[in-house]
Amino acid sequence: MTKTRKWPPQLGLAIALAVLMAGLAAARPGFITLGNLVNLVRQISINGILAVGVTYVLLTGGVDLSLGSLVALTGVIAATFAHPGEYAVVVPVSAGIAAGALCGAINGVLVTRGRMAPFVVTLGMMTSARGLALLASGGRPVSNLSTAFTRIGSGDFAGIPAPTWILLAVAAASHVFLRNMRMGRHVYAVGGNESAARASGVHVNKVKMVCYTVCGAMAGLAGVVLASRITTGQPNAGIGYELDAIAAVVIGGTSLNGGTGGVSGTILGALLIGVINNGLDLLNVSSYYQQVIKGVIIVGAVWLDRSKKS
């Protein structure tokens, strides 16, 4: 009969990214060195982890504004358990991730059982979690962390920074989960048409709970990595990170209405944002122009992606 349309969904974005990188390499040979590429992948790690997490929530048609605050809260909690000579490094790491997952689960309960708009629920969590982070730390950075803990953020393996390995691991696992597992299919169904998913026997609330909890856990992981990288638990860390993470996902082609998109696009989106930040720093563009240009490039890249499609 006729052929199925098989246009890779993020081709436009990948082209935009390639053009941008080629331009930067031409303008600044230092951009394409091994050292800087390692730099780049390290710098996108935290936003990447958050973006992978929030991809789950966005796919269901929800949103999570609490990410930035959760990064602060979980970072502070992890740091509290990470002083040298107190606990094995697994304790702070699990504490941070568990705290994030718990907050995510609370978001999930309020969205499903409470039948409230995800925007409102996670806005409340954003505010409350920030307060908790300040309370837990007394408003001051929690420092003096063990080297075992700080190595998470600063170490590397086979030349690639540890945070990047973590990002790769969660991205790969999420990709497989969303593409190949039954529950992953259900995530798309809930986001695509919630009533139809329910009528098909999908446990909509369970799916949403999983997504919000995973998103919270990823925020916890990001909080741990950040605290380890900057060697402190900062109660005022992560402000605005939620927007960067959501931006990466949306730039990567996942719809805010849910149901379409995926982790591969998210990684491209995070890379695009990372390349812009890194490239403009390398070019030493003045801060004022940097912001103007950054906005234009983001819109331009997405425009290219859109117009390639139709």
Partner: protein, 292 residues
């Protein structure tokens, strides 16, 4: 939790002072806040502390609320030079004494306790000039663009740069007061300039710490001088350990205590100084012990 609930039930004993702080998730302001609490307890006055969360508009609102509550005096830790000025004007117009702490506003308050931010940057940059013998490549990490602290520290630093033509400002960029952003920025600078950078001036210690960690990880720290401002605990520890070259001590406790004391004196109609200047001090490994 509800400090006011308990005390407002009982008969009003001492004077009430409203305090509007720049941002209590900032370690330096937290220290000012703690000093104020201690001093207030000591003097038997009640203080109501509001957090403006860096918004001048909120700060003006909070002062309006204090005026509506008819507090006896107001202590203002201004967010902005200009934008926080209406708060001062309104308090004065309502006949309520207002004391500015830590930084200035355009409008003149009843009294001022603090120091000049330009001074801190000047001290830091002069230290860099001295260490480099007036010659070398410098980068500067700016605070949040357009904020009073950033502007004033920028001004101070540039005065010193102008006096030292041998110092070249090869790059400057904002890291928005944030340690993580400063780390990324430093990493990018290392890619661009590598060992050509001789010194980094960060407009606060958070950013200095971020730059420091990035340089250490790139094994360049021994080639680059890093200086911050504020003397937060982390930075003092880093100076003590010989990692951070210097920071500039601003006496948060002294400022907080003096502000409350001045406000109480005004309320009690005792003599007070219109301007209490608390000087900055350079902290290096040599004198760090006295700042703990």
């Amino acid at each position: 939790l509800l400090q006011a609930c308990s005390s407002s039930g009982s008969a009003k004993k001492g004077p009430v002072i409203g305090v509007s702080l720049l941002n209590v998730s900032n370690e330096f302001i937290v220290m000012i806040n703690q000093a104020m609490d201690a001093k207030a307890k000591e003097l038997g006055v009640q203080i109501i502390v509001n957090d403006a969360q860096r918004s001048a508009d909120r700060q003006v609102e909070q002062v309006e609320s204090f005026i509506a509550q008819k507090v006896d005096a107001i202590i203002l830790n201004p967010c902005e030079v200009e934008a926080s000025s209406p708060a001062v004007d309104k308090a004065i117009a309502a006949g309520i004494p207002i004391v500015n702490v830590n930084s200035e506003t355009r409008s003149t308050p009843t009294a001022f306790v603090g120091s000049r931010d330009e001074e801190a940057a000047r001290i830091a940059m002069e230290y860099i000039a001295k260490r480099l013998n007036g010659k070398g490549n410098v980068t500067m990490m700016q605070g949040f663009m357009g904020q009073a602290g950033q502007i004033k520290r920028d001004t101070g630093a540039r005065e010193v740069l102008a006096k030292n033509p041998g110092l070249k400002l090869i790059a400057q960029q904002t890291a928005e007061w944030d340690r993580a952003k400063a780390m990324s920025l430093m990493e990018n600078w290392i890619q661009s300039y590598g060992a050509r950078i001789n010194a980094v001036f960060a407009q606060n210690d958070e950013m200095a710490m971020g730059a420091l960690i990035a340089l250490e990880q790139a094994r360049l720290k021994d080639k680059v001088i890093v200086v911050g401002v504020d003397a937060i605990a982390d930075a003092l520890a880093a100076v003590r350990d010989g990692r951070l070259d210097a920071t500039v001590f601003q006496d948060a406790r002294g400022q907080g205590a003096a502000a409350v004391e001045t406000a109480v004196r005004i309320v009690r109609k005792q003599p007070y100084e219109k301007s209490v200047m608390i000087p900055f001090q350079l902290v290096t490994r040599d004198n760090v012990a006295q700042f703990h």
